[in-house]
Symmetry: C2
Subunit: 344 residues, 2 copies
């Protein structure tokens, strides 16, 4: 059976433009909160294939999105490479022992050995595929090497990223060694997700905007491209979505072997279309805070639909949905995207 989401990723004509939302399996859903409480905490939920499967499927059932995205966290990778991970209330994820020298880096698991430790992710994918309706697609994902490296070096989220950027400018060889090691793990990680049943993969570069342009391509985009080329050469039928957040002004130099470019909300869709629309399908990009208002949602969806009326588009938010958004408004968004984009 042909899936509208997969077709759209390859730029084929579809009856309407498919839609999903980043972080759609999340705290705004009471059903999610219930399962998460049962699991104990966030990381336990990531480690629990049955419950992770359940929350992955919730937005498909409740909202009618066209694709499910694996429920997991980007930081399970450094965690399984050997870094102890805690989610501290009010502070977010914390690695107690950040990686700041070659010795610490050499102590981490790499390659297939690290990727194999993420078996609970692959098991989650297999469970999801048993239950996901035939017309919906399953998206696997990973964080980008750079985004993972920021957490690995900083130890936690940061405003200035000054610890990891000090390495970028003062110790670039170390950073490249770290990024190369993470990149190798991520190639196998995505490959094993695909072997388990992921039908699309997205690479999230959440902290792309922490780097100035020249350093962005050197320390982040090139590694993302390397992963994309590896996956594309082995699995040409699997669409790849790249989502580097907050780099609208760098789009003139974006290239690589992938299918869909995820546009964040700070990048006007017309700008993305101008630079990338001929080469890539575009995904996005409603500002997530618009979901607080149906009127603001409608204004934006209509405008995006108009800009992308020739297709080659997947609707999404321009960043993750926020925890206090009314479910009713999320439903309204999904339905509206599917309706305004109907074509013969």
């Amino acid at each position: 059976m042909s899936k509208i989401f997969i077709d759209a990723c390859f730029g084929k004509k579809t009856p309407y433009t498919p839609v999903w939302m980043m972080r759609q399996a999340g705290r705004y859903l009471p059903e999610y909160m219930k399962v998460r409480e049962e699991a104990g905490d966030f990381l336990s939920l990531c480690h629990d294939p049955k419950r992770a499967c359940e929350v992955t499927l919730q937005p498909v059932d409740i909202l009618g999105v066209d694709a499910a995205i694996l429920f997991s966290d980007i930081l399970v990778v450094p965690n399984e490479m050997g870094m102890e991970l805690d989610f501290v209330k009010g502070e977010g994820p914390v690695f107690a022992k950040p990686i700041r020298d070659e010795k610490a880096l050499d102590g981490l698991l790499g390659g297939k050995e690290a990727a194999r430790k993420l078996e609970y992710v692959y098991e989650t994918i297999r469970l999801i595929k048993e239950r996901l309706p035939d017309d919906k697609a399953l998206i696997g994902f990973t964080g980008s090497p750079w985004t993972l490296a920021t957490y690995m070096v900083e130890g936690q989220g940061s405003k200035s990223y000054s610890i990891v950027k000090k390495e970028v400018y003062a110790n670039p060889e170390f950073m490249h060694k770290l990024l190369a090691k993470v990149t190798e793990v991520l190639k196998y990680y995505l490959e094993m997700q695909i072997e388990a049943g992921a039908e699309v993969v997205q690479i999230f570069d959440s902290w792309a905007s922490a780097l100035e342009k020249s350093k962005y391509f050197e320390f982040s985009w090139n590694y993302m491209k390397e992963i994309a080329s590896y996956i594309k050469s082995k699995y040409p039928h699997i669409p790849i979505i790249m989502f580097p957040k907050g780099i609208a002004i760098y789009l003139d130099e974006i290239d690589g072997d992938f299918d869909v470019f995820g546009v964040d909300w700070s990048t006007p869709m017309a700008v993305a279309k101008k630079h990338l629309g001929d080469r890539y399908v575009l995904q996005g990009n409603m500002e997530p805070c618009r979901l607080y208002s149906k009127e603001a949602t409608k204004e934006c969806v209509t405008s995006i639909a108009n800009t992308m009326k020739e297709g080659r588009h997947i609707f999404n938010l321009g960043h993750g949905i926020l925890p206090d958004v009314p479910v009713e408004n999320a439903k309204y968004f999904v339905k509206l995207c599917q309706e305004v984009s109907k074509r013969d």
Copy 2:
């Protein structure tokens, strides 16, 4: 006596391109830390004209920058409008009672009455002017209405700005009322700074990038422009610097009655030059983390000097200097900017 910094703000030819650094009176200087400890805490230092004057002058003496910038904090304004302000260790500034409805907003002081309460700022300026060398300029400043409003509504710094942006989308009339009230105070605040002796003023829009393009112009830039027009009409000889951070992709719509556009580090200088270089003098924009390495500093200063070799430029960082930068590297940066830009 003609001041090189003022001349450069008006695009006049100068013997070299002047330089200063955002947050140059700051924690990377041991001399600053000493005075701050004497004062007790950060807010006490802002309230103490003698000590605030002292730390304002330190980078002029120690680094040889071409302009001093008033030592203060953007949040003293909402503080004097009536919002209790604390600087909580590890969390930054916190307003215990954020403004989230019209009643709370109506309870705040406005206009000249609020601006007059900032007398300690004007006294600081008068003290600085007594001691500042004749060839150096004094920059006064304020936060933008939007940036102040984000703190006033959120109550503290935020990653998502979802509380204030909920108001933007779901309750825009309230936001405009708040922004208009803050704008009025800021007009008088800058005016009183100028009357006290400020020779240049900069408006910092630190959270500009929290807004998507259409909302940015409606909720932030238009209010900044209103302040600039007010000041320009009364004090045409006072240069105005606008610094909206992180909106490189919005530059095609920037206009207004000001003199210098502050370019943040994420905006390639060539992009800023293309959009704004004919109309405005450009200030900036070295990525502050480059100060961790002299080599990375030199590469960037040389590149900016080359892009801006026809002048109409003021050297600066593209954001504030970080607390753990070696003073030696900051000195190197200042000297290098002045040397590479020497002209006959």
